[in-house]
Symmetry: C2
Subunit: 377 residues, 2 copies
């Protein structure tokens, strides 16, 4: 019943691991409010989270199964997961939008209540309601000691298989880019058409698409696409977060339109070499900063360079950052991106990205590694 | 430079309106952290928000232009909006992820600092960092008195034009559903193909797609699509939030596969009548609950029924709810959905949805209103 072939045992094992750490941290409960945290412990998968109107809560007790405290519109779907205790209210009820029901549940289960509060987290409920829950429950609240993020960082076999499937889907779409991108095609249409290819190849949806195009590289990688047509000598980059069964891939490909200059060809080759250096360095026991340095040395990145990769899973980005500062130690089962960048000419850059899983021994590529030579379209 | 044809004057007018209300509420600054709130005052449009790694901040002072406090990766794009004062840090820096820079900015601008904290809001930054900002800035923090939500609820002409464009795109895609949905087509493929049609018709992206299919209706409207093929007598519903230039449409269409039973035909006609009753009731001065009652009376909905519509704009759902309880008063310029539902047979329902803008006199449809007769595909 849970999309992606996740077993009930997988979820109970996740909860058991959390409970061991909650015990060490002296927590009576975890309060989770985000799509990915709730799904991690339940398997509850729906695009309905796109609506910000309704809060959703999952309470993981120190013993026993999690309790869902959710809008009644989600009850039928939540009951098809492995969760038995599903408590609902008729959201939206702005006067008491789950506050009393959640406070009662927390009082019953008992605190202290750990709430993910550190790097990369957010509380997906109104602040004013959170204050009410704190008061009404009478429980003590604190951070979750990073328990949820640490658990989620190391993927199970089933999770790795899902990410690999998303990567395969994107790989098939990338291999078809020449169908949609050529001299004269407006970049905005290329963006639309590439999302279409991803759907045709099996993506459930395409939450993220970025990219850029320009002579010998692009100026930035986060702007919306303009309607400017591609011209010979342009470098086109497409970077996608496509989702299958709730798991992301996140990698990119560069293409030269018509012809590649020497600067473009050499930059592309350098990026592929840098990626390979990152792959070689990404072994259990290495730190994120070690992987950063391996890639930065080849790509010629200075300390001021932003991150060259990050964790990946139910979110487009999650967990560690491949930066000069990040001391996180790699473990088998972590899925990360390698994303070196380099300047091609003044004001024009190129970035390249692949997805890998840390394994005992050498890391395994999940995305089909690109060739050194930039493809010409 | 700002996608969607929004002028600098539009943004300065939004800020001026906010500042008038901030003055009444005794606020020295607003602190905004979400994509739609930041975009409302800046025009800053990027899909990069899909990555939860980096917080983004906008400070609206009681006088003068807003100040952006953002990751350096977004600086170039933010400087292409009308914002001049763009302060950056090299995020992600988990040790001080914008905290000091934001605290300094707030101390300089002065409080009290209003933070959206009520219904439907969230704070998009780690709770622990928020506590640090409160301490380091020395400012007083409070809610924003609903100022931002109230401003955003009433759309400008340019915003209404954008939503109308998204509605047109979806309308063209809905008119092509027979190309992709027919006896034997698995629902999961129909979901993918419909997103493809939306992209072909001009959507920039498709953040939301829901729906369902079954004999004489569906069981719920939030589950992921199964691989079950459509069979004659099924009712197929597709409900989309497609986005163009950052503005959503949110409406659905029902189709009968091969043939429609009497119960299905009559339920569809009832939903169209209910929608029309809602449209007639949705005039300036009417309350959301009045519109609810007008539709509920026709659709046969009881008080326990969930909401039958909601506000719409930069979010799939925002602002008022069409419920029996919501006393919000409609104003010209509000864009809302009308979304009645009805039971067809035991355990099977149908829902219908259209998008309208409240106007002086009768409301105007933004989506192409469906016919009473359910289309057969």
């Amino acid at each position: 019943m849970i999309p992606g072939g996740f077993s009930t045992e997988e979820f109970s094992a996740r909860v058991a691991r959390a409970q061991t750490q909650m015990n060490d941290a002296g927590l009576g409960a975890l309060l989770l409010t985000t799509e990915s945290d709730v799904r991690y412990f339940t398997g509850y998968l729906t695009r309905f989270w796109e609506s910000p109107s309704r809060p959703w809560f999952l309470v993981v007790p120190a013993q026993g199964k999690p309790v869902a405290v959710i809008p009644s519109i989600g009850a039928a779907l939540m009951r098809r997961t492995w969760i038995d205790d599903v408590r609902t209210w008729a959201a939206p009820e702005p006067e008491d939008d789950g506050v009393s029901l959640l406070a009662d549940t927390l009082r019953e289960i008992g605190g202290p209540v750990g709430v993910p509060s550190g790097y990369e987290t957010l509380l997906r409920m109104p602040l004013a309601d959170f204050e009410r829950v704190k008061t009404q429950s009478g429980a003590e609240f604190m951070g979750d000691s990073g328990i949820v993020a640490a658990l989620r960082a190391v993927k199970s076999k089933a999770e790795i298989a899902q990410i690999a499937e998303s990567c395969s889907i994107a790989g098939r779409a990338f291999s078809r880019v020449a169908e949609i991108a050529y001299e004269g095609a407006p970049l905005s249409r290329v963006f639309r058409d590439f999302q279409r290819l991803l759907l045709e190849e099996g993506a459930d949806w395409v939450p993220y698409l970025a990219g850029g195009a320009g002579q010998d590289g692009y100026e930035d990688v986060i702007s919306p696409a303009s309607d400017t047509p591609l011209v010979p000598g342009d470098v086109l980059m497409l970077d996608t977060g496509a989702v299958r069964n709730g798991y992301f891939c996140d990698y990119d490909r560069n293409y030269a339109v018509g012809r590649a200059s020497a600067a473009t060809s050499s930059a592309h080759a350098r990026l592929i070499e840098a990626t390979q250096a990152g792959l070689d360095a990404a072994r259990p026991g290495a730190r994120a900063c070690d992987v950063w340095r391996a890639m930065a040395n080849v790509a010629g990145s200075g300390e001021e360079t932003g991150r060259l990769g990050h964790g990946l899973g139910m979110q487009l980005t999650e967990g560690l950052s491949i930066t000069a500062q990040d001391q996180s130690v790699l473990e088998a089962g972590m899925v990360i991106t390698l994303e070196p960048g380099t300047d091609v000419i003044l004001g024009r850059m190129m970035v390249h990205e692949e997805n890998i899983v840390i394994s005992d021994g050498a890391a395994q590529a999940l995305s089909p590694l690109a060739e050194k030579e930039i493809p010409i379209i």
